[in-house]
């Protein structure tokens, strides 16, 4: 099995999950409770990776992160190198591609909180962070777990976006799914099978965690 690809994939999935949780909690809160008229626009943008072919997303990210755009040049200055075909570029792509898998469960979690409980907290405290930390987040914990597991496993299984942005450079951007693709191209079915089996087991375990927790939490 490709040890480098395993390490890289899990590092990418861990960072992506952490970033997604940090982004999705405030975004999910706003989508659940905000009243802006342009909210559907944001909801549609967040859900876009669900329906978009990964190659389309990967292509636009590749263009956006390249030296021809202001964003690409700015990111190159920050990171000291172009983001395309680098781990940082892969991370940006993964975060965008897996965004709906984290935001949607968290938004559903916030929406499921009894409105009267939220109002009781608002009558007692003005501190939104305190209400979020002490009341809301504990109530949506099963949804946070679902978001984290989905974001992690979805990142582990990414192929199209990773290939477009990263190009499959060994040790830099070559993840497990690309490793399987390369092994199959080389007729190395035995290695491809063991890598695929790892991904299959991981995916099954993730779903088992989600459904197990849902059963216990009654979600």
């Amino acid at each position: 099995m490709d040890q480098q690809a395993i390490f890289l994939t899990f590092r990418l999935a861990a960072f992506t999950t952490l970033i997604l949780l940090a982004v999705s909690i405030p975004l999910g809160y706003w989508l659940a409770f905000g009243q802006a008229r342009w909210k559907p626009l944001v909801e549609a943008a967040v859900a876009l990776p669900l329906v978009l072919p990964p190659t389309v997303l990967g292509f636009y990210l590749l263009v956006l992160l390249g030296p021809q755009t202001a964003v690409g040049r700015a990111l190159s200055t920050i990171f000291g190198h172009p983001l395309a075909f680098s781990f940082a570029g892969l991370l940006v792509g993964s975060v965008i591609f897996s965004l709906p898998f984290a935001v949607q469960p968290i938004t559903s979690g916030f929406r499921s909180v009894d409105r009267e409980i939220l109002e009781a907290a608002q009558v007692l405290s003005d501190d939104r962070i305190r209400i979020l930390r002490k009341v809301l987040l504990p109530l949506v914990r099963p949804f946070l777990l679902t978001a984290a597991v989905l974001a992690f496993t979805h990142t582990v299984g990414e192929f199209g976006v990773v290939l477009m942005i990263g190009g499959g450079i060994p040790g830099v951007t070559k993840t497990l799914s690309i490793s399987i693709y390369d092994q199959v191209q080389d007729f190395a079915y035995r290695q491809a099978n063991s890598t695929a089996l790892l991904l299959l087991s991981l995916s099954f375990l993730a779903l088992l965690i989600i459904y197990g927790r849902r059963g216990r939490a009654g979600v």
């Binding site: 009267e116 109002e119 009781a120 907290a121 608002q122 009558v123 007692l124 003005d126 002490k134 009341v135």
Partner: protein, 242 residues
């Protein structure tokens, strides 16, 4: 007690248009009316949970809402305690953490003392470490009352808050509560649709129907002016009870 609350608001919610223009001065006022009359809507406007389309709310001389100049004080800054019909305790916090949730600017020790005092007032000291899921309906409501009073609000809103309590406990709690409110000079506005309860307990009664105030004043005056309608309502609530 002199006038403490001045309300002049208009708010449309579905088919109900709330048009209320009144002042309250009795320490214990019962807001009375049939279901769907706008009692809860009015309490939500006072508590800051609903922003009225037009009007003004002034509590103890402080403007809480004024649509003419955009004044809007958030629910937590209004110094109003609010206890709803269905006790909404925070399910992940124990009773002590629930009661202390609204306490600000107190030291840890002062906060603990306040919680103990409030739980004692509502005969709930033995529940301090329990979680809301382990409490009966009546126990939850007592904790909700303790939580609402712990920050020492300047007005208490009670939306049929005693329906989950049995008759004996209800009268005991009511007695303790009114004593505490009178000692701390905190007025209360109590929503009820029970004619007998409304007229037995009230200092003043405000009768609301279809979003508008039909009568206001001491129980005997309101009873005399609204006799026919109240008797009809008493009959219908007795029929419903059967």
């Amino acid at each position: 007690m002199s006038e403490y609350l001045r309300i002049d608001v208009e708010h449309t919610l579905g088919e109900l248009t709330l048009r209320v223009d009144c002042a309250l001065s009795a320490p214990w006022t019962v807001l009375f009316g049939p279901s769907g009359a706008g009692k809860t809507s009015l309490l939500r406007v006072l508590g800051g949970l609903t922003r009225p389309h037009r009007g003004r709310v002034v509590l103890h001389g402080r403007t809480l809402a004024d649509s003419s100049n955009g004044t809007w004080v958030s629910p937590a800054q209004r110094e109003i305690g609010f206890v709803t019909q269905r006790p909404t305790l925070f399910p992940n916090l124990n009773v002590t953490a629930n009661v202390s949730f609204g306490l600000r600017g107190l030291s840890g020790r002062a906060s603990e003392e306040r919680v103990v005092q409030m739980l004692e007032l509502f005969q709930a000291s033995q529940l301090a470490r329990r979680m809301p899921a382990d409490l009966s309906g009546g126990e939850r409501q007592r904790v909700a009352l303790a939580r609402a009073l712990a920050p020492q609000p300047r007005l208490l809103l009670l939306d049929e808050s005693f329906t989950a309590l049995d008759a004996g406990l209800k009268s005991l709690i009511l007695e303790e509560l009114t004593d505490w409110l009178s000692k701390h000079k905190v007025p209360a506005l109590y929503v009820s649709h029970d004619v007998a309860e409304a007229f037995q307990t009230a200092g003043d009664v405000v009768v609301i129907e279809k979003g508008q105030i039909k009568a206001q004043g001491p129980p005997e005056t309101v009873l005399a002016s609204q006799r026919e309608q109240l008797l009809r309502q008493l009959d219908s609530s007795r029929t419903a009870a059967k």
